[in-house]
């Protein structure tokens, strides 16, 4: 009965909190605690016709063909689960709003958000709601969905690491009694029990977790390359087989505990190296940008891009991306900035070719498929990044491995003279102790920790490898469009004849050119569905020509095209000056000193831009010197970067993919909002850009620390080999020396990473 008191309190329809006092907001017979809740409820429940616009719905229409490959799992005719990536997820409210989706969208049964991966599993009834509608609603509430085409899980790695840790703990535990002098005479059964259980745990670890190294070494040998996995695998095999011999002979428990420790540390290093930001997707494929399907006029339905045939007629809506190479059946205007980097839209007549990746402006059209998917220009731009080649260079690995093998043979030969019965033991001991475990741990731990620290300075690298690449930087290639300039291009507008403002706004509103858009923004006049403007045309490099309702001729464009001084943009009505617009491209303010700072670190700057030539501030000219390149299509950008060694490319958009792959490190500058991640080796947040020289200096210090750590681990190896050659290596020495070397090297680099960390 006590509960009845709380029940009587009215609760808010939206947030379900009890409504306190008189603060009741009533809307449509529902009670809310505040107007915020009321509005949110109205929006989400469609009470006042809120919901995705028809344009938004049509934007996702192509998802109608979504299948298993895109994360859609069918359980029954009335239940499917769609796994989708929602990069905009960032806080608790996001999670709560999305998980309450069944309450505000009819047909959705359940939503489970995976916060760290920024994914959602949406379970819905396909007879009541379709994928495009769900997608449009997600976009409407602020979470534009991205399809998941590649499954990526790291649970297997965690499992392996867990098993290796378990095996190491137990193997070492059961090896202890012997080290501490378990009386061998009295309790041989107990001793054997401990020995065999140690062997069991180490073998389990080798089979489950260590197998990877053996396989990887085998692959490297077959591929005739040197990888550090080869000496590691040799060491592992030597450890296991010699220990097995010792165990069978009954001389000692062998080195099984060292083996299990070795495997665990190696896996830990690998885990650290791969520790990436699950929320960031660095791997982008063409399919993330192209629509999944397109409306085929011939078939009368949406068809997967891959199933289109040559000669098929497709319908492309305004604002859609061209998914296959096609011949236009109508006149069109298209924006190729995705592929060429050129911001000027291109106009074409019927019969002209539409290239993949172009975005249709103005109006939709019908087109005839020319080349079916997979053979387009876009695919060529997107090349697979090079496979991982290990931290230590193949040459160094080769020298190391051969030296170890030679030392092992020499050791065995010398002992052949002294005591032939111990020759094999000595040879194997050298192989065991020289296993480059610590050597292979130094770089992953150093750079992994450093990458973590860099993320606090707004630099997110795909892997620790990026830190090593940063440390070697000799050249920086800057892409001007988005990197050096801020995306906000609004300049100053001087209006001379205010009575013409409405017409001017109508004219510039139609253009997608940044200058026209800037003028439109400055005019602050809303234009919608304007039909009074006739004969509107835009000539690249000149400007816009149009005629208004009163028959006056308009021109908005450059000084050169109307016989006035170069620089600003003029708006003329019947040769009369209406307005002057200065498009001040805003260069990132902090950049001048930043560039100079980098220059003092011995880095050469290059300006490589897809834009038309523009005026540069004087101090920049001195920084870049002769290396200023304008009007570079993606291939030329890549060609300019290819000969530069240790070149970091800093760009922004999709059109930089090829250049990013050619450079030793490709960084993408991201402005504020998370939600779109270009393919790159790393992401730099624009607001943290001034920290970049610090980050670079830090990377260099870390590279130095890694070299020092290499030296340290080589010293350990040398000591170990000395022990082995002198015939002093026993399981106890190995059990101490091997983990000790790994731990000290790891501690050394992690400590260095914290000490050198730049202060924010």
């Amino acid at each position: 009965m006590k509960n009845s008191e709380t029940v009587d309190l009215p609760t808010c329809e939206f947030c379900e909190q009890p409504i306190e006092g008189l603060a009741v907001v009533k809307r449509a017979n529902r009670e809310f605690c505040c107007s915020g809740c009321a509005t949110a409820h109205e929006m989400l429940h469609g009470d006042s016709g809120y919901g995705p616009s028809p344009e938004l719905l049509s934007k996702y229409e192509h998802l109608i063909v979504t299948s298993e490959a895109e994360g859609l799992q069918k359980y029954s005719s009335t239940s499917v689960i769609w796994e989708v990536s929602l990069p905009a997820i960032h806080c608790t409210s996001c999670l709560i709003l999305l998980e309450r989706m069944p309450e505000w969208l009819h047909g959705v049964n359940d939503v489970r958000v995976s916060f760290s991966a920024k994914k959602a599993h949406i379970s819905f009834d396909p007879t009541q709601i379709s994928v495009p509608v769900v997608a449009a609603w997600l976009d409407f509430v602020g979470y534009p969905p991205f399809l998941i085409t590649k499954k990526h899980t790291n649970s297997g790695e965690i499992t392996k690491l867990g098993i290796a840790g378990f095996a190491m703990g137990n193997a070492m535990m059961s090896a202890f009694p012997e080290y501490f002098g378990l009386d061998t005479s009295g309790s041989s059964e107990l001793l054997l029990f401990f020995r065999y259980s140690t062997a069991f745990f180490a073998t389990l670890s080798l089979i489950v977790a260590g197998r990877f190294y053996l396989e990887s070494a085998f692959k490297a040998i077959r591929g005739k390359t040197w990888s550090l996995d080869i000496p590691i695998a040799i060491g592992m095999i030597a450890l296991w087989s010699w220990s097995f011999v010792l165990l069978i002979r009954g001389t000692s428990g062998g080195y099984f505990d060292s083996l299990s420790g070795l495997i665990f540390f190696l896996l830990l290093g690998k885990f650290f190296q791969r520790k990436t930001y699950a929320a960031f997707s660095f791997e982008r494929t063409v399919n993330d940008f192209l629509p999944l399907s397109v409306f085929s006029v011939d078939q009368g339905q949406f068809t997967r891009i891959g199933n289109l045939k040559k000669g098929e007629i497709i319908e492309l809506a305004a604002g859609s991306i061209v998914p296959v190479e096609a011949i236009a059946n109508d006149a069109f205007q298209i924006d190729y900035s995705f592929i060429t980097g050129e911001s000027e839209p291109v106009r074409g007549e019927a019969g002209a070719r539409l290239l993949v990746g172009g975005k249709l402006l103005d109006q939709g059209l019908h087109a005839t498929v020319e080349k079916p998917a997979q053979s387009s220009t876009m695919e060529n731009i997107w090349k697979e990044t090079l496979p991982d080649t290990g931290w230590v260079s193949p040459r160094l690995t080769a020298i190391f491995t051969i030296t170890v093998l030679v030392l092992s043979v020499i050791g065995a030969l010398i002992w052949w003279q002294i005591d032939a019965s111990r020759a094999i033991e000595i040879g194997v001991s050298v192989l065991i102790i020289a296993c480059p475990c610590a050597l292979s741990l130094a770089a992953p731990f150093a750079y992994g920790t450093a990458a973590g620290i860099m993320s606090k300075l707004g630099v997110f690298l795909k892997s620790g490898r990026g830190v090593a690449a940063l440390a070697e930087t000799k050249h920086i290639a800057w892409d001007k469009t988005g990197t050096l300039t801020s995306q906000n291009l609004i300049g100053t507008l001087k209006v001379h004849l205010a009575q013409y403002s409405t017409e001017l706004a109508a004219i510039v509103a139609r253009s997608t050119h940044p200058v026209a858009q800037g003028m439109y923004a400055r005019l602050q006049i809303e234009v919608s569905n304007d039909t009074s403007i006739k004969d509107w045309k835009e000539l690249p490099g000149k400007g816009i020509y149009a005629t208004d309702a009163q028959g006056r001729d308009w021109f908005v464009g450059s000084g050169a095209a109307c016989g006035r001084p170069e620089g600003p943009t003029y708006a003329l009505c019947d040769e009369e000056l209406v307005a002057i617009y200065e498009s001040s491209v805003r260069y990132r303010a902090e950049l001048a000193s930043l560039l100079a700072d980098l220059l003092s670190q011995g880095i050469q700057h290059h300006l490589i831009s897809g834009d038309v030539p523009r005026e540069l501030p004087e101090e920049w000219r001195t920084v870049f010197g002769d290396s200023i390149h304008f009007e570079c299509p993606p291939e030329k950008k890549a060609a300019l970067i290819a000969p530069l060694e240790h070149c970091v490319f800093i760009g922004d958009g999709l059109n930089d993919i090829e250049a990013m792959n050619k450079a030793s490190l490709g960084l993408a500058v991201v402005e504020g909002k998370l939600g779109y991640f270009p393919q790159s080796d790393g992401i730099v947040f624009a607001v943290y850009f001034d920290q970049f020289p610090k980050v670079l200096r830090y990377a260099k210090r870390m590279a130095f620390s890694v070299k020092a750590a290499y030296l340290l681990s080589l010293l350990y190896n040398l000591t170990g080999v000395l022990f082995a050659v002198l015939g002093l290596l026993s399981p106890v020495v190995a059990a101490i020396l091997m983990p000790l070397s790994s731990i000290t090297v790891v501690l050394f680099v992690v400590f260095a990473a914290w000490v050198f960390a730049p202060k924010i």
Partner: protein, 53 residues
């Protein structure tokens, strides 16, 4: 002396039980999202409230 084998057997049993628990939690995806559950608990439980009333 035999009692030590029994003790060892039990200690190993416990260790294996922990390993099994770890494998189960790892395979059921408990390490995939380590941030979400902490936020989810902030959310009011709708069903509980409605059953109370």
């Amino acid at each position: 002396m035999n009692i030590i084998f029994l003790l060892l057997f039990f200690s190993l049993l416990i260790a294996v039980a922990f390993l099994a628990a770890f494998l189960w939690s790892s395979n059921s995806g408990q390490f995939e999202d380590v941030e979400g559950p902490a936020m989810r608990m902030l959310r009011e439980d709708r069903k509980k409230q409605s059953t109370n009333s």
